[in-house]
Amino acid sequence: MNSNRINLIIGREYWTRVKSKTFLLTTFLAPIGIILIYAFLGFLMTRGSDNEKKIAIIDNAGIAQDINLQRKNLTFEIKNESLQSLIGAYEKGEYDGIIELPPLDSTQQKYEIIYHSDKTLALDESSSIESMFRREIRDFKIQAFGIDQAQLDLIDTSVDISPKTIKDKEKEISSITTTVSSILGGVVGMLLFMVILIFGSQVMRGVNEEKINRIVEVLISSVKPIELMIGKVLGIGLVGLTQFAIWGILIGVLSFIASAVFGLETSAMSEMANNEMAQEVMANEGVKTKVLQVMKELMGMNWAMMIPMYIFYFFIGYLLYASLFAAVGAAAGDDINEAQSLTTIVMLPLIAGFYIAMSAVQAPDSTAAVWGSIFPLTGPVVMPTRLPSDPPMWQIGLSMLLSLLTVIALIWIAARIYRVGILMYGKKASFKELGKWIFYKG
């Protein structure tokens, strides 16, 4: 093989794709689009109700006296007037609505507040009002039952499982190690699956296009078919890496800008979820400590080992499937859609690998996950998913060895099919023919 020519081929495959409009569109517009939607949603959620509302309260329960009457965008007034006269004031436009608090009994577990108005409350307004009264009722009940506030504060206990390894005393595992590991593994497995599928099928289409164009005959009178195949596979692989690198940078930069502009923080989201003020504070504290813990966990991962492994599996997985896809593209006839049966065969183990990987997120040491990570066709997707959960070294070693051997064998087989297939014009090849091509010597 001539590396000079392979470099030329890689260069062509890479630059024609990277300079194309489709690449620019998907690479730059997709993340901008995602960020814009994210920012827009955040904007809606935080600024959902931005007009001031003035609300009258008729307090028949006697709980509203010590309420802070000023809320974000909401002003309350406690009125000792009848509903009738307040409705008169509402019609004059003095109030946007009237809250009617029915009498409250300390044993009551369900309490309905009536809101009189023709305009409905926004989601955040109603949840703010609900949480406001929930807290008042809670205080009312604490007093009614004569409970000591200090004791009450002590009643809730947070429980965490703290795993401790028996053999390896050095290793520190915290309660959220497993969660962090499985989420990290799941994300990586998913990404690998997507990259292999998207860029593998680009290889297939590229090969088929050259065949249909008949340019392949000109090309392989200058280069060897295997050089052409490897150049194409590597060139498109680099396009994939470039795209992911740009996405990574863009998403980082844009989400930073978006959060700065729209003041969008994770706490704003959790505020929506946790209605109760007290809980909210606790949850916020909780979220903060959790985030810190997750960061600590992520930092504590064995990156020095994992990053090279991810790169290894990325290359192996991509090379393995991209060369199979190249063979399919070469074996397909002038109409690539006819090659459905061939594509299905290639995609089957890939999709199986994806499902095993997703189940490995929950149970990284299940039988399916272990064998799925060792079997070379599913391993490149399953093993990276298991990696953060520290699988035994022999499994990693076996998986790497098998997938390396398989990739070499498959590139060889794919190149043989490719070499014959690209010159066979017309209909797609049958399986019998493919078998013959592999052992065909010319």
């Binding site: 164009n213 340019i215 005959e217 000109v218 200058s222 010319g442």
Partner: protein, 301 residues
């Protein structure tokens, strides 16, 4: 010296033998015709010469050496099935193809500039191939075939789909390169094209070589002693017809076939003696097409 020699070359595909024991030599500096109907095995032969496929048996020598890795850079091949990247610009594409033939970027650019100037198409550099007409694409493809100054050019049906003007343009280029010493193999099923262009030919049918040699010699060996004579007045009826048969008789011309052991002078003398004014006198040589049909007919019997 031969630029290309084939020795008992065999190529089998799963269900048929595409090339069956073919041997011929292409002399250096000549325009060589490889003839045969569609499916005769021409493309299979060319693919072996260009290292696209390998021969199952036999030997292929380029300039006296067995085919090896660097030979493809010395050959320029214009396939019958033309193909270029539709979405790539003409310039980029030609540079890429030239560099695959081991030219440096600089060399490739210089040579391409010269070719584009020669064809007066320098403004195509930034155009996408898909925007060009078919004839224009063929010009681009031709440049890609010859830009690396190959020793041997193989053209598979080079004129199919070209209009007469472009046909002549390409033909002139082929002649010019040939004058400068480039050997040319010209593969076609259109025999009449070969008669004008080629000195030597090989005739192939169903994977087998059926005839090879110098075009003039082949024609000579297949001649049937036919002559066409045109004259003023009418053909005299009192001529003795011992030495010839009249095959065709028009008002002012006849086609005759001289019988074995005689020659056409006897007839001419008779005409001159009768004061018939002869306008032209031509030997009718068989066309390659006729020779081909005759040979194929024989091999089928």
């Amino acid at each position: 010296m031969n630029i290309l020699s084939l020795r008992n070359v065999v190529k089998r595909y799963s269900n048929h033998t595409a090339v069956n024991d073919v041997s011929f030599d292409v002399p250096k500096g000549k325009i060589f015709g490889m003839l045969g109907p569609n499916g005769a095995g021409k493309t299979s032969l060319i693919r072996m010469i260009t290292s696209i496929t390998k021969a199952d048996q036999g030997q292929i020598l380029i300039d006296g050496e067995p085919l090896s890795d660097y030979h493809p850079t010395q050959i320029g091949y214009l396939p019958e099935e033309r193909g270029l990247y539709k979405k790539m610009k003409v310039g980029e594409q030609l540079l890429y193809l030239a560099r695959l033939k081991n030219l440096s970027a600089r060399e490739a650019k210089d040579k391409l500039d010269a070719w584009l100037t020669k064809f007066e198409i320098t403004d195509w550099w930034e155009k996408k191939v898909g925007e060009l007409s078919k004839g224009m694409q063929q010009k681009v493809q031709f440049i890609a075939t010859v830009v690396h100054d190959p020793k041997l050019i193989i053209l598979d049906e080079p004129f199919s789909g070209l209009d007469p003007i472009n046909t002549n343009l390409i033909k002139d280029e082929i002649y010019e390169m040939n004058r400068k010493g480039t050997s040319v193999i010209f593969s076609t099923h259109r025999m009449e094209q070969v008669e004008q262009i080629c000195e030597e030919i090989a005739l192939i049918n169903r994977g087998k070589m059926i005839l090879k040699g110098n075009v003039a010699e082949i024609k000579d060996s297949f001649k049937e002693n036919k002559f066409e004579i045109t004259f003023d007045g009418s053909f005299p009826s009192d001529l003795s017809s011992d030495s010839y048969d009249v095959i065709h008789d028009d008002a002012h011309s006849v086609i005759i076939q001289i019988k074995d052991g005689h020659d056409s002078n006897e007839l001419l003398r008779g005409l001159i003696d009768r004061n018939i004014h002869i306008r032209s006198y031509n030997e009718i040589l068989p066309t390659l097409n006729e020779i081909f049909i005759k040979k194929v007919g024989e091999s089928h019997e």
